[in-house]
Amino acid sequence: MSEINLPAAAEPIDQVGLKVLTIVATLALLVTAPFLASEYWINAIIVPFLILSLAGLGLNLLTGYGGQLSLGAGAFMMVGAYATFSLQLRVPELPLPLALIVAGFIAGAVGLAFGIPSTRIKGFYLIVSTLAAQFFFEWLFLKFPWFYNGNSSATIALSRGLSFFGLDANSPHGRYYLTLGIVALLTLLSFNLIRGQTGRNWMAIRDMDTAAAVIGVPVFRAKLQAFAVSSFILGIAGALWAFAYLGSASVQSFGLTRSYQILFIIIIGGLGTIRGAYLGAGFVSLLPLALDWLFQHLFSGHVDAGLLQNIQKAIFGLLIIWFLIKEPEGLARLLSLRRTQGARRRLFPS
């Protein structure tokens, strides 16, 4: 996350050293994490957190950078999951990583198709058209048994589990490394996209599409690009959610609530930032668990359990409101303000 600062000045050596140290420490932590954390932490907290972050990242490219509002995140995740299932079932020669990539491309193509209306409609009206994707795919994947291989329950699961190239990724460690690897790769890809011409086009359109068109940004192409890339990432996130976290999934796993959840992640985390997706996913997925643990240990048995659950919901809601009032631009902004003391201006949002 190197930043170009104005005025452009070389960073002092000790700061560079500090940065390298931080990166190395983070990498070491990520690689050794499974040996430090219990199985519960990996299976139930870290893996879903990583996958939700990836989904948030995917939507953030479209909504945060491209400025196209979407409530179809769940649908594109669903397409990715069902495509992976179909590929693994019907083209067993294709190893899992390739299947994931192909599924991502299928989701991307679907996203492209549903992005076409964005050239004519904007803002809240676009939400309605992406919402259509949500309902359409829920219907489609239930209506035709071909999509779930005609089993009695209409759920999908990988019969061979997560194994590829003779490796078995079904253990908690395997799931963790698989997820981490994919999330890291796609995050890197997103960084590069954002810093290149594509990302600048997206941001130009987000800030003012007429002006962008006037200076020669290909608005139509860039919008469709945003839809395709975002859906590609969401599709892979969906496949991971279904098979690396849940194990088996149905359309209900990717319902409208999932779309809302992903949207909340990027709003709370920070629109138009990469790390916002991670922060938002942390807030949305970890905070309720932390509250639950806290309440379980402080009050369990003394206070009516139903009341306790409703209070937790209320506290979570209040925290969201409080955070958004304190910093409407999300947690990412809150952090960057603290770090830079608000003194440095940055050319690129990161």
């Binding site: 199985e39 009695s152 849940l246 088996s248 999934a249 668990l289 240990h297």
Partner: protein, 442 residues
């Protein structure tokens, strides 16, 4: 403010790691994934009250199961499979020195989500009158227990009751029977059985899906008005049941020709439907009412002493409360079977499986535990993880459920080949070698 908050959160996380294990005696740990928040909370609350009251009764009045106390703990899931998976991961290692003998899923979608995980972890999933029907075949699914009443049995018992009403199985020929179902794994689960039954008895099988959550059903009931079925089998859940009954009334379909399944037949379904529910019948593997012996015991020992988890005592004996009682009793009796075999100490998952696979509750035992009439006779074996397969029929009279029949058995001879074929297909797809229980030791 913020510091305080962060400190509180940190403290909570730390505390959870530091809770000391109680040293004196080890109790059996029973986690309960529950839903007191969300769309299904109104059914849930009574259910958890029933389970908790029975466990408390066992602990405080009977001194535990064979002397082993039950340590039960709730976790909120909002009926979401994702959150149930998280809870499962959190509890599967057991707690305070007690391993996990079994895991109540409290919902069919959650059972589906956990099926493979639990089999790998060797932890029995208990989902009475729910779960995946094929898992009745314990040779392919050793760790799944859809106890009591599978979805195929529900379809079959429903058709048997209709036959009784119309005057014999031969009268079914030419009838139209529509199934209005919640479009989910749960709702679709009965389809293969109804198809086979329709072929056997020659009635016309109409399937009408209702998308989740089902709070608008005019198109479905308009279709019913057009196709004029003689009977409607209602396989909905939560709000979709209430809306179905009200919409049926609006479209002029008589309530006394609608038969609900287990999950569409409680007070939470009938009371909000008002007059639309009068005459409506439902399958009841868990009948409602307080006339059973166990209710007298609970009233004296738990309710009157102010120890009940019920917030509104008027709902004592409601269908959902009795679901909780029956489920808790099944767990307690299975544990008892296990303790007699392995000794009175907390069981692990493999021992839990053995215990459930050797659970027998005959008429005499039903009388002893006070469940006569509330619970059918149960005999679970390694090849039959259902162990019951019968239900009574109850009708709503506008104020309460009134039992209409004794236990009506499902047609197992017809259903078993279907279940075995489904299980065999699953085994083939997933590369599982079915076990042979006859050769197993212990």
């Amino acid at each position: 403010m913020k510091r305080l908050l962060v400190a509180a959160l940190l403290a909570g996380t730390l505390l959870s790691g530091l809770t000391p294990a109680s040293a004196d005696e080890v109790s059996q740990y029973i986690p309960l994934p529950t839903y007191r928040v969300g769309a299904y909370a109104s059914s849930g609350e009574l259910w958890w009250a029933g389970e908790r009251d029975y466990f408390r009764y066992i602990n405080e009045v009977e001194g535990g199961v064979e002397g082993v106390k039950l340590n039960y703990e709730e976790f909120e899931t909002e009926w979401s499979p994702d959150r149930t998976v998280e809870v499962y991961e959190r509890v599967k290692a057991g707690k305070d020195g007690s391993p996990l003998a079994f895991f109540f899923t409290h919902g069919t979608p959650a059972t589906y989500a956990l099926l493979e995980k639990a089999a790998a972890d060797k932890i029995p999933l208990i989902d009475p009158a729910g779960g995946k029907t094929e898992t009745v075949d314990g040779t392919v699914f050793p760790y799944a227990f859809p106890l009591l009443f599978s979805y195929y049995s529900q379809a079959s018992t429903g058709i048997n009751y209709i036959a009784e009403k119309v005057g014999g199985f031969d009268k079914l020929r030419g009838l139209k029977i529509a199934t209005v179902y919640h479009d989910s794994a749960y709702g679709r689960a009965s389809q293969p059985a109804v198809e086979v039954l329709a072929k056997k008895y020659g009635f016309e099988n109409i399937q009408i899906p209702v998308a989740d959550p089902g709070n608008e059903q005019s198109p479905q009931w308009r279709q019913i008005r057009e196709q004029k079925p003689d009977w409607v089998f209602l396989r909905t859940w939560g709000v979709s049941t209430v809306v179905a009954l009200k919409t049926a009334q609006r479209f002029g379909f008589p309530a006394d020709h609608i038969i609900g399944d287990v999950w569409a037949g409680s007070e939470s379904d009938a009371i909000p439907a008002g007059t639309a529910a009068i005459g409506y019948s439902a399958l009841a593997p868990y009948p409602g009412g307080t006339d059973f012996e166990i209710h007298k015991r609970l009233k004296a020992e738990i309710l009157d002493k102010g120890k009940s988890d019920l917030r509104d005592q008027k709902l004592f004996g409601a269908v959902n409360y009795n679901i909780g009682l029956v489920n808790a009793a099944l767990a307690v009796e299975a544990l008892r079977t296990g303790y007699k075999h392995f000794g009175a100490r907390p069981l692990n998952g493999e021992e839990g499986r053995w215990a459930f696979e050797h659970l027998t509750i005959d008429d005499k035992r039903l009388e002893e535990i006070g469940f006569k009439g509330l619970l059918q006779q149960i005999k679970i074996t390694p090849t039959d993880h259902e162990g019951g397969g019968a239900a009574r029929i109850q009708s709503w009279d506008g104020e309460k459920w009134v039992l209409q029949t004794d236990w009506i058995k499902a047609d197992h001879e017809l259903l078993n080949p279907l279940i075995q074929a489904g299980a065999a297909a699953y085994a083939k797809e997933n590369g599982i070698t079915p076990r042979t229980p006859e050769t197993e030791t212990n």
